[in-house]
Symmetry: C2
Subunit: 554 residues, 2 copies
Amino acid sequence: MEAKKENGGIIPGPTNPMVTPLLTDLYQFTMAYAYWKAGKHQERAVFDLYFRKNPFGGEYTVFAGLEEVIRFIANFRFTEEEIAFVRESLTDSCEDGFFDYLRGIDCFDVEVYAIPEGTVVFPKIPLLRIEGPIAIVQLLETPFVNLINYASLVSTNAARHRNVAGKSKTLLEFGLRRAQGPDGGIGASKYCYIGGFDATSNVAAGKLFGIPLRGTHSHAFVSSYMGLDEILDKSLRRKDGSSTCEDFVSLVQTWLSKIQWSNSLRGIFGETNQSELAAFISYAQAFPNKFLALVDTYDVMRSGVPNFCAVALALNDLGYKAGGIRLDSGDLAYLSCEARKFFCAIEKEFGVPEFGKMFITASNDLNEETIDALNKHGHEIDAFGIGTYLVTCYAQAALGVVFKLVEINNQPRIKLSEDVSKVSIPCKKRSYRLYGKEGYPLVDIMTGENEPSPKVGERILCRHPFQESKRAYVVPQRVEELLQCYWSGISDKARENLPPLKAIRERCITQLELMRPDHMRRLNPTPYKVSVSAKLYDFIHFLWLNEAPVGELQ
Amino acid sequence: MEAKKENGGIIPGPTNPMVTPLLTDLYQFTMAYAYWKAGKHQERAVFDLYFRKNPFGGEYTVFAGLEEVIRFIANFRFTEEEIAFVRESLTDSCEDGFFDYLRGIDCFDVEVYAIPEGTVVFPKIPLLRIEGPIAIVQLLETPFVNLINYASLVSTNAARHRNVAGKSKTLLEFGLRRAQGPDGGIGASKYCYIGGFDATSNVAAGKLFGIPLRGTHSHAFVSSYMGLDEILDKSLRRKDGSSTCEDFVSLVQTWLSKIQWSNSLRGIFGETNQSELAAFISYAQAFPNKFLALVDTYDVMRSGVPNFCAVALALNDLGYKAGGIRLDSGDLAYLSCEARKFFCAIEKEFGVPEFGKMFITASNDLNEETIDALNKHGHEIDAFGIGTYLVTCYAQAALGVVFKLVEINNQPRIKLSEDVSKVSIPCKKRSYRLYGKEGYPLVDIMTGENEPSPKVGERILCRHPFQESKRAYVVPQRVEELLQCYWSGISDKARENLPPLKAIRERCITQLELMRPDHMRRLNPTPYKVSVSAKLYDFIHFLWLNEAPVGELQ
């Protein structure tokens, strides 16, 4: 997609070329036509994009998806073909002038204020505030919500997995095959990286975003071998290139026998699976510098681990260092501990330094609960490979992001509902995060656009937006304005640049560490407080009474 | 993406241009390299793609995603840029020859046999059988699983929603904003249509696939109006063009007053919300032939429905017929019944034929359970608009599709597991659906490639693949071979053409109707039986004993 110039320079189009102005709901076009027909389409509207509830039973959310949103609006233009399709879809004899209007629109009269991508965020606080001609902003609703909903959900899911796994573990995203469609997979890789994962198996995501890649081999590779006679070229060159071992297969077999009859390991295993051994040798010949083997195709402790160790020790003789094993089934806690004991015994018995620290990766339908259970049992796993539960957000497959009109022509608007949690907070607003003495964020507060901002050291009343009795005075030690301008169209306003992915990831990690630990607990976390100023509170309730019909008891 | 010629003609590339040969796991490349290094890459392998368990607690699945798979392999080629990236990712000094090999590969030496898209399918039976050089077929695993997993899952989810809603209801897919990424949304629209939905709100999907589009207006449209004085042009031309009503607003107001003071409706409502009335009038002026109003922005029965009826009756005076209402909150069963009563009262009171049959659409977090509950309560809803729960498959966000090696160089392979349900069924196989006297499918059976096929009227023993005691004789009245050739590369084999989307949808609807009703129940359905021939059964167990290590009790 073609890039356009605005005051901040060139911004490329969305990562997925299918993200076009047609990626929206039909009613955005019917409304645009009705606005246009009524001469209302240029009226200046303000919409807030926010969510109502943190996902996964937690009390925090990671905000993500902003870059794609900005790339989308920076390049928002209809092609003739798209306009022809819209005309065909709005069958009701719409006037030609409307399609001329569509032909001319872009987002250069729109402004987008947003919380920086990778920030820890909370319900009700606008993640984005979008201002512009109502007909145009309305067309943006669906793609904005689509681009932010899943991005924020899966980043949050990744952060929660990191939280339970701990900082020292390596986390690998392996979800592409089970993701909801191709860019469900590509998006998952990007946003799990933001949420704190270390690498992905998804090559396309590696290429698009520079995310580190990981991967070794599958069960099919192991079972594609029938036996050692399939290895035609038995040689392997030493790492330093000084010579070549002509029969690496025999070297491995010798080691296998030594292990089998060693003092500390005698009796643990008998004859190992020879097709597995052939597969491991073959893989080691291809990747002698990073030999990492999947050890559960036949039997982990009676075949996979001994076969792996024999190959690893033979590699060691030639100056290489093996990478480790992957477990993909069974009792991962138990098997990782048994494998660790086996590695340590080898280190001791054969004097191979660090062999006991061999890297153990585990996969197989892992999620927050299973990692938590592994931690409770005790395990020796160094890396978790996580797929289905992570990328599909199995525990909660959507975040309820909404996009609500809060002002039109400088008139505040409110959306009422019998369900108080669904009442929107009117007015063009500012939001601040107030920090306490210990450096933790204490509360987020929304104010009217023109209210003075909270000041460090000055007491301010923070009110629950809907519950009269919930309020607290706060004396902030630091005040952070949350919404920054990320898109100012052709206006002169300075805007933030889009940071690189690594910077977003760093921000996310730092933000998560900054939170008070009780908000971050996996079970029964303390809710973080979200509030409005006293003035905004009064105004909300004035407007509410004004708009709500008075009931009659009969 | 460029299209290539094979024996069946030109096949375009995947719908999503991000579906490239790099959309795969890194380990597919490391394995490809290891196969190549060992001289094993050209060995002929057979893989089965299947799932192990029906989703959503049901006993059936709709197979979808085949067209995208075939479009992918028909155009499978690496670009130089992609090869450079793979080289960079496989850091371990891989030999140049491998990248020359990658440069030359395509899928013209691969064959794909598949069950037709839109067929009702069951666990363990291969949905696809893929044959070809092992290194190439291995590269296809991840994209194939990705393209089929979500497609089949969401088609099945759509079919389940149709099943509970009933044939007479209109089902609308409204999920784009909550889908897992942009083509989570586009894929959902396509595959929900296959599963039996009638239309989507997603304009991009409408354009790509020709799916009917639906949509009217949102709450924001209603709340963007402040009052009737915003309507500058008050006129509306009669449908027949014979004259123009110069003050349509007054006509509506007159009707509102008539309704309010009519014999049967007196006392039901007082003053309605005037900004809502303005929005409805404005929308009707834009779309007089399909005026459909969202009636719950302020109060359904005290404001939305009376306002709608006043506009609908004024339209009726000018020769137009209103389209109906949409309810998006509250007790949908109760409100739909109240609205229906109101419409019927108007039909009777003012003699407007068919006004009582006004179309009622309901939305708001609907899913199988809530539709079932609405049915139990009784309701007057004609159409359901379903989003989040449908497109994200909230009840179960992934289908466990797997891709297993079953044969290499004509040698059958088995993957063992301590969990019997994870043991793979070896051999290149054929599958058949056997039909009984009443026309229902009775059982699916897998046989070895070269066994004679089951014959109509001939008794055949069908065995559970793993449980010795589960077996039954069947005398089929009809035998249907399930796997058809959909991709034969450059070989001379005839292949099936890819049917158009509407034909796939028709197949799916017909297939679902063909099933015995007890398999289709929402709760406690009867499992459909899946079996193997006696010969295949014996062979599986011979191979299993051969490969499994013998334990030693200590």
